[in-house]
């Protein structure tokens, strides 16, 4: 056979920002599910919740399964909405396994966020706020600084994850340009609303969040 063309010049950059160039389908799904479970277990350690596609909050006590279910709800909601968007725009040319698999893999930066939440002093601060939300206004400057530092450290991970989610969608459905960006934003907003609502309702039903909250 003739020689395949050279792979991208910057493979590390491709692995970081477009791993779907190399991995998709069942393999991406398997790796992605391991990542979702691992991020959820790390979340259980640092009491960090992915309670919505773009949400990352700490402080709420919950059983381990609740952390895993949050991750799965986030992944499923976005994947379903993006698959519907793909069906509308390109029909059945996009394979569901590629979209669901690459979306799971796109969540890999989420592993970093619960680790950052273990930052010294952060757990104490979030526990104090969870116990008394009005306490945030009377926090000492040191604890406020910790909150700001942790927020600033987690932001790049969220941006990176969203960028990967977009690339996964664009590669899986072969959609480019304004059509891709607009449909992705619509799917992201809808899935954020649905995932957030689903998690809150589930946690209320299971007694993790008080029904009066």
């Amino acid at each position: 056979m003739t020689q395949p063309p050279a792979l991208p010049q910057k493979p590390l950059r491709t692995w970081l920002f477009n791993p779907f160039y190399y991995v998709a389908g069942v393999k991406a799904l398997a790796i992605g599910l391991v990542i979702i479970v691992a991020a959820s277990l790390l979340g259980a350690v640092s009491n960090s919740h992915f309670d919505g596609i773009l949400d990352f909050h700490t402080g709420l006590n919950a059983p381990v399964w609740a952390f895993v279910v949050e991750g799965l709800i986030d992944w499923l909601c976005l994947s379903v909405f993006l698959y519907i968007a793909g069906l509308i725009l390109v029909g059945f040319r996009a394979r569901a396994i590629d979209l669901f698999g690459t979306q799971a893999l796109a969540r890999w930066p989420s592993i970093g966020m619960p680790i950052i939440a273990l930052f010294p002093g952060f757990q104490e601060t979030t526990k104090a706020i969870a116990a008394n939300p009005t306490a945030i206004s009377s926090l000492p400057p040191g604890q406020i600084a910790v909150l700001i530092v942790v927020t600033l450290m987690t932001l790049p991970f969220i941006v990176w994850m969203v960028a990967l989610m977009y690339r996964a969608y664009a590669v899986s459905c072969n959609i480019k340009g304004a059509k891709a960006i607009v449909s992705f934003i619509i799917a992201l907003i809808l899935s954020e609303i649905v995932s957030k609502a689903a998690i809150v309702i589930l946690f209320m039903q299971m007694g993790i969040i008080p029904l009066s909250a």
Binding site: P4, L7, Y22, V23, A24, R95, V171
Partner: protein
């Protein structure tokens, strides 16, 4: 000696080239005229390689992805881009012949 690549575009004005003369490598008999280049020769070497590999793998995109060391959607997107390019070349050829 390295194999020379077939030029398909005029280096002066950028228009498509045509074949003017063909010659037998054995007895040097020559045929002159004005012949169109086959459409596939107008694709770049990388695209031609891709088509060759596509045929050799019986059009199996999973096999092709394995051969290139990339994912299935990457290969499928590459094929979609190639289909667009071939359609565009066909359109150009039709416009030129009219």
């Amino acid at each position: 000696m390295a194999i020379k690549s077939l030029p398909t575009v005029c280096p002066s004005c950028g228009c498509g080239l045509k074949v003017k003369r063909l010659e037998c490598a054995h007895c040097a008999t020559a045929v002159e005229g004005e012949f169109e280049l086959p459409l596939l020769t107008k694709l770049n070497a990388e695209d031609q390689d891709f088509i060759m590999n596509f045929i050799k793998t019986s059009g199996n995109l999973k096999e092709l992805a394995k051969l290139y060391g990339v994912s299935y959607p990457t290969v499928r997107n590459r094929l979609d881009a190639l289909i667009s390019r071939v359609n565009q070349l066909e359109q150009n050829q039709e416009n030129q012949s009219q």
